[in-house]
Symmetry: C3
């Protein structure tokens, strides 16, 4: 494993923790039992990549090829469950607010790295995919936001991408950026810049409450 690979892997694990956390917290808030909390945590963390692999014909999906991601999701879900099980009062404290602010940042990191890694998976699988712009953008965005969509559909919420500020758009812009950059600058730089762009758009959108147009 080179330093670059290690760096990518670290970002992926950070994203996995943040995604699993958002799934597990939803399960905890809906009073699900520990099994349900884990299902939502795992689904949010690896669901997007799983949809991507089904579309690209990667059998079995990558979530079964390296247990690190699902393992991280299970660990995150169980730790959160144990924490709020033992200290229920934390659910109504200012701790939760701080926790969610930190997680929101890590979630943006996850969105960035998963979007880029989704595109790289398609390119690595078949280099001719470089000419299929729509396919690349689609698998990038779906890797980034698919897990959250599955989480919401499974738990009976309206999928957040339909209401959350600019979340999916950040992934969309990052996907286009990476596909453009990876042809003109070294891959590692392209990855880094595109992922950072996603994080920046997400954070700015959350801070300034950017909205896409909608019909009131």
């Amino acid at each position: 494993m080179t330093y670059t690979e290690l760096f990518i892997f670290t970002l992926e694990i950070i994203g996995t923790i943040a995604f699993a956390s958002s799934g597990a917290m939803l399960g905890i808030r809906k009073n699900m039992d520990i099994f349900g909390v884990n299902v939502l945590g795992i689904t949010t963390a690896v669901g997007g990549g799983c949809i991507r692999d089904l579309l690209l014909g990667i059998h079995p999906p990558k979530m079964f090829q390296n247990f690190a991601y699902v393992g991280t999701a299970i660990l995150t879900s169980c730790l959160l469950f144990a924490l709020f099980y033992l200290k229920k009062e934390l659910l109504e404290s200012s701790f939760l607010e701080h926790y969610e602010r930190v997680m929101s940042t890590l979630d943006a990191v996850g969105l960035g790295i998963f979007t880029v890694m989704g595109i790289r998976t398609a390119l690595y699988l078949e280099s001719s995919h470089i000419n299929n712009l729509f396919l690349l953008v689609f698998v990038g965005v779906v890797t980034g936001i698919g897990g959250g969509m599955m989480r919401d559909i499974m738990s009976g919420n309206t999928p957040f991408v339909f209401i959350k500020h600019v979340y999916a758009c950040a992934a969309l812009i990052g996907a286009f950026l990476y596909i453009f950059l990876c042809r003109v600058i070294p891959d590692t730089a392209a990855m880094l810049i595109s992922s950072l762009a996603v994080v920046a758009i997400r954070m700015l959108a959350a801070h300034y409450r950017w909205n896409l147009p909608r019909i009131q």
Copy 2:
């Protein structure tokens, strides 16, 4: 492209517009932003074919092989969004009623052609599928109604096939009809007759409010 192919393609684009329109209108009614409206429009238009391709093992799904369909869906969604964004009052006018009546007819055309093209995709992929009646009927119907089901599940509605009059049944009858006819008459004629049968059943069912039996 022969005249027959051009004719089929025209019908498919008409169906794509009608399907995308039904998805986009649902998003507009639910106050989704322009991204959500596009997601619902695209999903309704190409979701059924995507499920079919996953079942048949076509990787990546055909929606990624010819951008015309997704492009049409995006264009339709954006145009509708722009129209109702600029002229909000249209949402409560008699214009909408006329619009939906026209779209309902085009939607029937889409249901017919997508059902038939779903079966043809399976046959073209592997001609031995001709002996698997259940597979052919299933992929035909799922190509026709799968996008609408995904639209409803994603937006939190009860899938319309569970309540809408005879919608899925029209696809079912058209599928059986095409599978029978394509063995005994020229393919173009078989396609035309089966698609028209779907349209006819749909329109008659809507006009006379046919219902399947249910337990009250």
Copy 3:
């Protein structure tokens, strides 16, 4: 067909009837028409296996290779629909209570045999999967509970695995047990013991109202 194969097939058909019944009954309770009742019956019966086949890359899924399972699901759905259509008063009688108690037992048999058969499908497809514990457990559990999850998501309910006592856990324990046993004792014995364990855990959990921990 050997006696063992016949025995397995019998258990599978029993499970198919029970699963289809749970889907069809939900459709009947929600006042769906006969088409919707069949869609829910079929989905519950074969949906889990279909997800498994998509993950493993079996195209087309096994539900299209042997019509016996889907045929059984259709027959079950239509018979139930006819019964309650002709004798609506049964829906509010003590008959329903007895019926559901019997079905709950058969459902446990289905959960057991489908979980085990899911794992066997993965092993039969590629014997090297024996080393991928997570994959085996996942496809086992998803074969057992995936149909019920699809049923609930399609009909707008919170998926039962998030609330039902120990249902998914029974499949999980049965999956681990079978994967362990199939290496140390003859396959038929391993199947039988693991399936029975699932049934026993399910029945005990229902009777004693076992619960997994949740945060109140």
